[in-house]
């Protein structure tokens, strides 16, 4: 048998001939429409692909991408980052989190700043690393600052499961997991009080495929049915995204409004039932989660179930963790960008006061934020 190489997995999905072929199919399909179509890619990973591969340059005039709020780091409100900072500064705590979370500034500074002041802050690639850190530091409390959408939630659930089953005494959780469908609903329903002319401009959604690997395509059923918005669950390679766009345009030209799967090679309608069960065993819906830039979104967050409150850092450290919310910078328009109402380049501080190494707004802090992607890849259109 021929061995499988990494490039076998992506080569076809980045093939320039295929991308060009899709570009011309998209153009033909768009010509059939007598209107413009605004497609929101909900996920920061999609925004990244769009900018990295220059996909807007391949779109006809009447097809536009608007960038959604799907970057778990960007949407973290300042007061929760302050929680991470305060927890990290506790003498007996090792604060563990994922990737570029440590760059995001709260009102007291970022976790990088805390580390510079002597706090023990570590970033890991897999939450299971916490087990090793905890066993090597038995006299310390390891707090896992859990972030991410449906994609990363199962890893947290597995860690909780292991901590309980192995009776590990020094791992705690600060849960900041959020869910995609609830915020999509918020984007359709919400009206911005500052902008009179605001009406939501989203005609269709590209659903992030990795979220649906876990949660299934079923989570988007209500969007075509109740909100008249087509959804196509789409992969992250450029060919995937071009096909996803074509599928959306076809729905419009053929007068359909459906929940479809482009990423059929992995995503099913039901998703990963085992992962869903594990999440439901340990985590509950939180009634409110405040999204940075968007405000409170009902039912969009997760929290530890009450019976596991002995593992919940938010409860154990409640005396030192502030509950007041912290306002964002006045000049920052991240809220409008996350709602799909404005482009990063329309912001007066984009690229001037607000840059990736000194971010002011949430969309600039993570490499997956829309502003960071615009700053990094520019736009030669």
């Amino acid at each position: 048998m021929k061995s499988l190489e990494l490039k076998n997995l992506y080569d076809d999905f980045r093939d320039s001939k295929t991308i060009k072929a899709y570009a011309s199919l998209i153009e033909q399909e768009a010509k059939k429409l007598d209107r413009s179509i605004n497609i929101m890619e909900v996920c920061g990973g999609h925004t990244h692909t769009i900018m990295k591969y220059g996909l807007p340059q391949l779109m006809p005039k009447n097809v536009k991408f608007i960038h959604g709020p799907g970057c778990p780091v960007c949407i973290m409100p300042k007061h929760r980052i302050d929680h991470a900072y305060i927890l990290a500064m506790q003498e007996d705590v090792i604060l563990v989190t994922l990737g570029d979370m440590i760059k995001v500034p709260g009102s007291k500074g970022s976790l990088q700043n805390a580390r510079a002041k002597g706090a023990d802050v570590r970033f890991v690639y897999s939450p299971m690393e916490c087990l090793k850190i905890a066993s090597e530091n038995p006299d310390k409390k390891v707090v896992f600052f859990a972030i991410g959408f449906e994609t990363t939630t199962p890893m947290t659930a597995v860690l909780i499961d292991t901590v309980i089953k192995q009776n590990i005494k020094n791992i705690y959780f600060h849960i900041n997991h959020v869910t995609v469908p609830e915020v999509m609903e918020e984007l359709i329903n919400s009206r911005d009080e500052h902008v009179d002319s605001y009406n939501n401009q989203i005609d269709a959604f590209l659903g992030p495929s990795h979220v649906s690997v876990i949660a299934g395509a079923k989570i988007y059923e209500k969007f075509p049915k109740e909100y008249n918005r087509p959804v196509v669950v789409t992969g992250f390679e450029p060919v995937d995204m071009m096909e996803g766009v074509l599928m959306i345009l076809k729905q419009f030209s053929e007068g359909r409004c459906e929940n479809e799967i482009q990423y059929k090679r992995v995503v099913s309608f039901e998703g990963n039932i085992k992962a869903q069960e594990l999440i439901n065993r340990y985590l509950d819906k939180a009634s409110l989660f405040k999204w940075r830039g968007l405000g409170n979104v009902p039912n969009s967050g997760l929290k530890l179930k009450e019976k596991y409150s002995n593992l919940d850092a938010e409860i154990i450290y409640k005396d030192v963790l502030p509950i007041e919310e912290v306002e964002d910078h006045k000049l920052c328009i991240c809220g409008d960008i996350l709602r799909g109402m404005a482009h990063p380049t329309e912001c007066t501080i984009f690229g001037t006061a607000c840059k990736p190494n000194s971010p002011i707004g949430s969309c600039m802090v993570s490499s997956e934020g829309a502003c960071a992607a615009y700053y990094k890849y520019g736009n030669l259109l």
Binding site: E5, L6, K7, Y10, S16, K17, I19, K20, A23, G45, H48, M51, K52, Y53, G54, L55, Q57, L58, P72, V73, L98, G99, D100, M101, I102, K103, Q112, R122, F123, V124, Y125, S126, E129, I147, G148, F149, T151, T152, H210, K355, P356, N357, S366, S367, E368, Y375, K376, Y377, G378, N379, L380
Partner: protein, 332 residues
């Protein structure tokens, strides 16, 4: 029993001398160094010399393809070679944490010796300090060096549309190796750092009479930093064909998993070249004798002055920017 470096070895007295004698003189011995004067007196033939300094810190100290010692010699010698000079004399400063494993120090000194020989260079002066435990992270090495100019006029300020842009091998190997070797990532791979001395390659180019405009080793900030520096310093636009940039499958895999771009990753034995158009293909042949993956990656235009543009094979363009901040893996 494990022998370690005591705090007293930095006292300038007996223990200090013993460390210098047993570890450093043993590895670096040459007539100038062994004279043990306050400063080295050097014989130079060339009227022009190139000089450079750099300090080195790396975690882990030993990594696949090299160690901090090899890095410290390559780093300074390569900077000198990038100016068309032959690395000749180096000074070395060791700042050591109390309790450092003496055997590891000997190993590091031996690997420096080997790299010095490859460059035909010698350590002519040195310094050792020992810091109390916990005040530094194990070991810091500073090297400074001078080299005699063998090719004049190399400059990052003179690149024009008469030049072609090349890279000497596949990129990003050092950055990807160090990142996967770091704690918390737990990736297994066959990756090896590209840490290597570049003078032999530069000498081959000079000996063949290649018209060189600029050379720069793509260390921190990677190839994207070098190209952006060149675009700004020479007030030009560099256009790169994205598909032509050589990246090994291993480095590409790490980048795919962690959300990095190979062009952002550090290299320690890879350099960019701006060569006069008519000599570009001859230069490529010479580079290929040292590494098969050497490639022509781009050209100079005036489309967007002071910027680097990446052209995709399906007709889109984007800017390649200088990386900022700490390199962190993406979340999902």
């Amino acid at each position: 029993m494990k022998r370690t470096v005591p705090l007293s070895a930095g006292n300038g007295g007996e223990e200090n001398n013993e460390l210098i004698r047993k570890v450093f003189y043993k590895a670096f011995k040459n007539d100038i160094l062994l004279k043990s004067e306050d400063a080295a007196v050097l014989d130079l033939e060339a009227s022009k010399i190139a000089m450079s300094t750099d300090s080195f810190t790396v975690t882990p100290l030993f990594f696949p393809g090299g160690d901090i010692g090899k890095l410290a010699v390559c780093g300074t010698c390569n900077d000198i070679a990038m100016m068309g000079a032959k690395p000749k004399y180096l000074t070395v400063g060791f700042i050591i944490e109390e309790g450092f494993d003496l055997r590891e120090l000997e190993k590091i000194a031996r690997s420096m010796k080997k790299e010095l020989e490859l460059n035909g260079a010698a350590v002519v002066s040195g310094d050792t300090k020992v810091m109390p435990k916990g005040t530094i992270d194990k070991l810091i090495i500073n090297t400074s060096g001078i080299g005699e100019l063998e090719y004049e006029g190399i400059s990052s300020n003179n690149i024009s549309q008469e030049d072609t842009i090349l890279v000497s091998r596949d990129i990003g190997a050092h950055g990807a190796t160090i990142f996967t070797a770091r704690e918390g990532i737990e990736l297994q791979s066959n990756l090896q750092s590209d840490c290597n001395s570049l003078y032999p390659t530069v000498k081959a180019l000079i000996d063949a009479g290649i018209k060189i405009t600029a050379l720069r080793d793509a260390t921190r900030g990677g190839v994207s930093a070098v190209l952006n520096e060149w675009a700004k310093q020479s007030d030009i636009c560099i256009e790169v064909e994205e598909e032509s940039i050589p990246v090994s499958p291993e480095v590409f895999g790490v980048c795919e998993m962690l959300g990095f771009e190979p062009t952002m990753l550090a290299n320690e034995g890879t350099f960019c070249l701006a060569i006069k158009n008519e000599d570009a293909s001859r230069a490529l042949e010479i580079l290929k004798q040292f590494n098969q993956n050497a490639t022509i990656i781009g050209k100079v235009t005036n489309t967007h002055k002071q910027r680097v543009i990446l052209n995709s094979s399906y007709g889109t363009k984007r800017f390649l920017d200088t990386p900022t901040g700490e390199l962190l893996p993406r979340i999902c």
